[in-house]
Amino acid sequence: MTARQTTDTMPLLRVQNLQTHFLTRFGAVKAVDGVDLELAPGEILGLVGESGSGKSITGFSILGLIDPPGRIVGGSIEFDGRDLLAMKERELRRLRGNDIAVVFQDPSMTLNPVLRVDTQMIEAIQAHETVSSAAARQRARDVLVKVGIPSPDERLRCYPFELSGGMRQRIAIAIALLNRPRLIIADEPTTALDVSIQGQIIHEVRELCRETGTALIWVTHDLAVIAGLADRIAVMYAGRIVETGETDEIIHHPMHPYTRGLIDSVPSGSTRGARLHQIEGMTPSLLELGEGCAFRDRCHRATEQCRETPGVTSLGNTREFRCWHPETGGDQ
């Protein structure tokens, strides 16, 4: 299913029916099984789902960074009108870090421990442009200032282990921004940080993206994190997008029982102190997913009909979900 744009501009990214499977000894793990996504230039999309729902694999598929035994077995990915799946590795390499950048979850592991920060920043620029090291260094310095790093010259000379986790993640974000990409995929970039730094970084990234017109896919399992950040939200479950829509709509009128469950498990002002509702059960094994709604074993609205895979229902321009019995009736 595709979330259509409110505007008529050509989408920056269009993912259709993406299928990325891991061919393991025990069978095919369908980590991503028919994902559709669309992103306008400058738009911020929150990609939410429990652990193992396929969020990271979706991101890596877009970058062409799926390693065996994983393989993209179907679908299409278009970026700026170009078919990424048809691209040669050389062309993809030119795109990575230049047009599409990423930030990973764990800041302690994304920077190479034996290389200084300046080395790792300068090489990211020089991989895409012929510039002198001095010029590249200057640019690296400027971006560090932009992401709020004090005394950047000193930080440039540091090794990663000499910096705090928050500082490292800022540097990772700075690296993503270095070449002014059109799209940043941020894969749970604040999960490993403490809450106050989390808030700061989210705020800064949002400002930077707005400023430069960079589109952003913010991957998280925490709905609360992106409620104040994203223009649109896509909810992922067991390798599929089960619901997408504008942030306000999703938060206030969830259609899919799984989205509802996610929202109910977020602590908020009114529910503070009260017992939080948790979605019962676990994500099903992606190995033995058969026909039918993958959520049905955990769904309080499930019926016989849910043994068949629900199709996409569209509501208005930007709202879609995959459920036979949506929360608010689906008929408004």
């Binding site: 960074l65 390499r93 592991m109 034996v114 080395t119 991989a127 282990f161």
Partner: protein, 324 residues
């Protein structure tokens, strides 16, 4: 940093002291050298005279204290057999061994690291499986056997390489080198190959394991995501990290081989220190054995220090630990 070095040197001194006692007592227990020093027909009187002249009649701890006193002044005593200073005997033999082991280690790193990386990057490829199977043979076959086979093949069957001695040498200052003459080099090949084969197998396995581990790291994926070329990722991001365990292993192996290249040197009659050690043990030439072991301990301790310093150059986070 200098505190670190001084600390290590103090430790080394302590280790040497303990080792000297152990070796001294050990060699005392191995056998009585008198029987090697006098003819079998010698009378008891003659025996006692010889015993006395070497100071062997005194209690062991007195012998030890005497030895320690001179050793602290750099005098390790004289060989019972030749009368030459033990230290000089060992140092004379050192260049031959350093040459052999250095060449073997060079060979094993130059061969082992690239093969290990290939096997680590493409674990499923047939070529990688061939490398790994080969490396199992490489280090499970005993050195003397490998030496014999190489001799059979290149010397006996093909008759293209010599099998014994150093060949023609060149005098460089006080040191004699084989590596500078063609003949010397030809003599060096088989023993170095014999020794290097085991080492190369080990380096291959260490490199492969490190490569696989590093390859799966987030920072490698991040480097790819930055759009770096695969050659830069390999040369800079991967290799620098893989080198950390390799330096440790290669360094320790180098020390081990240098101190105890006994088998290879015996098989190829290579006139190095290992040959000297085995000869001295067989003739119960106590001063040489004791001096040898102590010098090797000193050498290994210093080598460890050098490895640690190198380590700090490559792995910046290890510098941190040293500061405290």
């Amino acid at each position: 940093m200098s505190a670190f070095v001084i600390n290590r040197l103090l430790q080394a001194f302590f280790v040497l002291l303990v080792m000297s006692v152990l070796v001294f007592v050990g060699i005392y227990l191995v056998g009585d050298p008198i029987s090697m020093l006098v003819s079998p027909e010698a009378t008891d009187l003659e025996r006692d005279a010889v015993r006395e002249s070497f100071g062997l009649d005194r209690p062991i701890f007195v012998q030890y204290i005497t030895f320690l006193g001179s050793a602290l002044q750099g005098d390790f005593g004289r060989s019972f057999l030749t009368g030459e200073p033990a230290l000089q005997l060992i140092l004379e033999r050192m260049p031959a061994t350093v040459e052999l082991v250095g060449f073997a280690m060079f060979f094993s790193v130059v061969i082992g690291v690239p093969l290990g990386i290939i096997a680590g990057l493409r674990p499923e490829a047939t070529f990688s499986k061939v490398i790994m199977t080969g490396s199992i043979f490489g280090f499970s076959l005993p050195t003397f056997w490998v030496g014999m086979v190489l001799i059979m093949l290149f010397a006996v069957q093909l008759g293209i390489l010599p099998t014994s001695g150093r060949g023609e040498t060149v005098q460089v200052g006080p040191i004699e080198l084989s590596i500078l003459t063609l003949d010397g080099l030809r003599h060096l090949i088989l023993p170095a190959l014999t020794l290097g084969l085991t080492k190369a197998s080990l380096i291959i396995r260490v490199t492969r394991a490190a490569t696989r581990e590093i390859q799966a790291m987030d920072y490698i994926k991040f480097a790819r995501a930055k759009g770096l070329s695969s050659s830069r990722i390999l040369r800079v991001h991967l290799l620098k990290n893989v080198l950390i365990p390799i330096i440790t292993v290669a360094g320790l192996e180098f020390g081990q081989a240098l101190a105890f290249a006994v088998v290879t040197e015996t098989v190829f009659s290579w006139p190095g220190m290992g040959k000297l050690l085995i000869d001295s043990i067989l003739t119960l030439d106590r001063p040489v054995v004791v001096a040898y072991v102590l010098i090797m301990v000193l050498f290994l301790v210093l080598l460890n220090l050098v490895i640690d310093l190198l380590y700090m150059v490559i792995d910046p986070s290890s510098r941190e630990k040293v500061r405290d």
